[in-house]
């Protein structure tokens, strides 16, 4: 079992969701987050005075998948979220020890 966390541009969420559901992803958790990477922040102008947006709004997607599905899911996210410009985001894949479905008490792969 793997946990796939991806940080993407908010405007790319739709495209990523379409691609993920197309390959059969049934569960998806989304959080609105803010942060910066190599892209850093940017400046905006309000009433003639510049201000820095250091923490840029992003979307964090969390998907739990069985090991055999990871490559397909990562490919789908990359395809949906890539614009080729700095700030497209990152994907982190990490192992997880256990999954429990609260309703039935199932554990392991069948709970994913």
């Amino acid at each position: 079992m793997k946990r796939i966390d991806s940080i993407i541009r908010p405007q790319n969420l739709d495209e990523v969701k379409v691609r993920l559901t197309a390959i059969g992803v049934q569960a998806l958790t989304v959080a609105e987050v803010r942060g910066f990477g190599r892209q850093k922040g940017h400046t905006e102008v309000c009433r003639g005075t510049e201000y820095a947006v250091d923490f840029v709004p992003k979307i964090m997607l969390t998907i739990i998948a069985t090991d055999d599905r990871v490559t397909a899911i990562v490919d789908a996210i990359v395809a949906g979220a890539r614009t080729g410009k700095m700030g497209d985001g990152k994907i982190f894949v990490s192992p997880i020890d256990e999954v429990v479905r609260i309703r039935t008490g199932e554990t392991g792969d069948s709970a994913v």
Partner: protein
């Protein structure tokens, strides 16, 4: 405000059975104040004696009834006496016509009451517009604080104005500036300080009792109190995000009771500044139709003094002295609020005729809109040119700047002049916002000092430049028959040949700024010395909503658990 001096007494009461009482009161009145009329007018709380044949006038304001001339030495005495005799003879022949004229006169006053009250309700609604505008322009963490300030401004300033403000401002309005469109309110005829053309403070009608417990007076009160409220909420835009609630309440009481009514008395209450045309040969005296200075510049410069005393918000200026932007948290509120203000201004300016029977109201309404759109377009394009993108909040400030600037001249200028005034205001408000932000470093979160202070000053000066003489004949008692050699010539500006009016406007508008800034600065510097009017730094960082009022404007943003 209608400042045309009534040429006829409005209600003369003949009560022979109480002649002795009348005589005694008259003697007392003369002793107390030289401006007391011989026949003491009585208030009319039920409104059943207001409006009769003496208030029946034609479109040009010429009366139906003719009063008997009393001054036998006047040069036109013979002609006036003949007119009076002719009228008497005609009235004796056609008594039904005279009765009909009583109804016509009453209907005229009733029409004007309806107009004045309803436009007053529109002005009242501006309160909602300003609450939305200022709330949208500040940070989310202070949104509830902004709402409370706007709300409390209405409540407490209203009470202060009821108690003393109205009496200070209009307690002597009948002496020099009787609002004929509302029946003249003849009972408001006593200056507390000064007399005749040199009145400094009204003195009748405290707590709306006695002489002010009158239908006409209450109509005037409703309309004027919402104007005072406008000055009252202007300051919110400059002092928000850092003032304590108790400090703010003191500011509101000060505006409603003192700083606003005093200048208001000088200009609209028949005070000395309105009479400098007669006393110092300065055109029609100081003319401010609907309050560019009386309301807006006064509020703006009061706000400026308070902003200077409070100092800038934490973090507004970096260690290098450079300003930092605190972006507006809700542009939807800002635009909605601006349009509500524009809508309310359709009461503010046209309503200031105090009467729908004054048909200039259509020109005033169009001029007001034209200046608003011209101001907005100018600010929008100027920002486009300076910073590469038009700024919604500055487009809104530009619209309000145009509105503020056209408020004084709206009745006296042509539509094209209104557009020019709007453009000037649009330029001035942008310059003012940048100047305050970068040069003077007076932190003004919503731009109230530029919009209301600077553009208010510009508006009053604009009267002295652009007034074209088509309206305002007899204003402040000047030039009722002829002015500058023309019959029916009204208030006239520099471009149409009256330099006196220009200097009068320049001086009066500057005086307004000095009075508002000076009085406020002195009083609240002392208050601030005694106890700081500013919230502690940790409260300012957290946002004032919870520490000051115990609730946030957007509680769903916080994670709340019941236990």
């Amino acid at each position: 405000m209608t400042k045309i001096v009534e040429r006829r007494p409005l209600r003369r009461l003949v009560l022979p059975s109480r002649a002795a009482v009348l005589l005694a009161t008259s003697v007392l009145g003369v002793l107390l104040s030289p401006c007391f009329a011989v026949d003491v007018p009585k208030p009319d709380p039920a409104g059943i004696a207001t409006g009769d044949k003496t208030t029946a006038v034609d479109a040009g304001g010429n009366g139906f009834a003719v009063t008997e001339p009393t001054d036998k030495t006047a040069p036109d005495y013979a002609k006036n006496k003949k007119d009076f005799d002719d009228y008497q003879a005609q009235a004796a022949k056609e008594p039904l016509a005279v009765k009909l004229a009583d109804s016509v006169g009453h209907i005229r006053i009733a029409t004007n009451f309806a107009w004045t009250l309803n436009t007053g309700y529109l002005v009242l609604f501006m309160q909602a517009g300003f609450a939305l505008l200022t709330c949208g322009l500040v940070r989310k963490k202070n949104a509830a604080h902004l709402m409370m300030l706007n709300f409390a401004a209405y409540v407490f300033a209203f009470l202060a104005y009821y108690a003393v403000g109205y009496a200070f401002q209009f307690g002597a309005v009948a002496v020099n500036a009787a609002p004929g469109n509302l029946g003249g309110v003849p009972t408001l005829n006593h200056f507390l300080i000064g007399s005749g053309p040199w009145g400094f403070l009204g003195g009748n009608g405290f707590f709306l009792s006695g002489p002010a417990y009158d239908a006409g007076s209450n109509c005037l009160m409703l309309f004027e109190v919402v104007f005072m409220e406008t000055a009252g909420y202007i300051i919110v835009g400059s002092i928000c995000e850092r003032i304590t609630f108790w400090g703010f309440l003191l500011c509101e009481l000060f505006i409603g009771a003192i700083v606003y009514p005093v200048f208001g008395c000088w200009v609209w209450g028949g005070g000395w500044l309105s009479q400098v045309g007669a006393t110092m040969n300065l055109g029609h005296g100081y003319v401010d139709f609907a309050g560019s200075t009386v309301v807006h510049a006064l509020g703006g410069f009061t706000a400026m003094a308070l902003a200077v005393i409070l100092g800038p918000r934490l973090g507004k200026y970096g260690k290098d002295g450079k300003p930092r932007a605190f972006p507006a948290h809700n542009l939807v509120y800002v635009v909605t609020g601006t349009f509500i203000l524009l809508f309310g201004w359709m009461g503010f300016n046209p309503g200031s005729t105090l009467g729908a029977t004054d048909l200039r109201i259509s020109v005033i309404a169009v001029n007001t809109n034209l200046a608003a759109v011209a101001g907005s377009a100018t600010a929008l394009f100027l920002w486009y040119a300076l910073f590469g993108k038009p700024d919604v909040t500055m487009a809104c400030n530009g619209m309000l700047a145009g509105l503020v600037a056209i408020t004084a001249p709206c009745a006296f200028v042509s539509p094209t002049s209104a557009v020019i005034i709007g453009i000037l205001a649009g330029l001035l408000v942008c310059g003012g916002v940048l100047f305050n932000e970068r040069v003077s470093k007076i932190d003004d979160p919503c731009g109230a000092i530029s919009v209301h202070g600077f553009c208010g000053w510009l508006g009053a000066v604009s009267v002295g430049i652009f007034a074209d003489g088509t309206y305002g004949s007899g204003w402040n008692g000047i030039g009722a028959a002829t002015y500058l050699g023309h019959a029916g010539q009204g208030v006239t500006g520099l471009l149409h040949g009256d330099t006196h009016q220009f200097f009068c406007q320049l001086g009066g508008a500057t005086l307004c700024a000095l009075w508002a800034f000076g009085a406020t600065f002195v009083v609240f510097s002392i208050v601030n010395k005694i106890k700081s009017m500013r919230v502690p730094p940790e409260v300012e960082r957290e946002g004032l909503d919870i520490p000051e009022f115990g609730m946030s404007a957007y509680p769903e943003d916080a994670v709340v658990t019941v236990e």
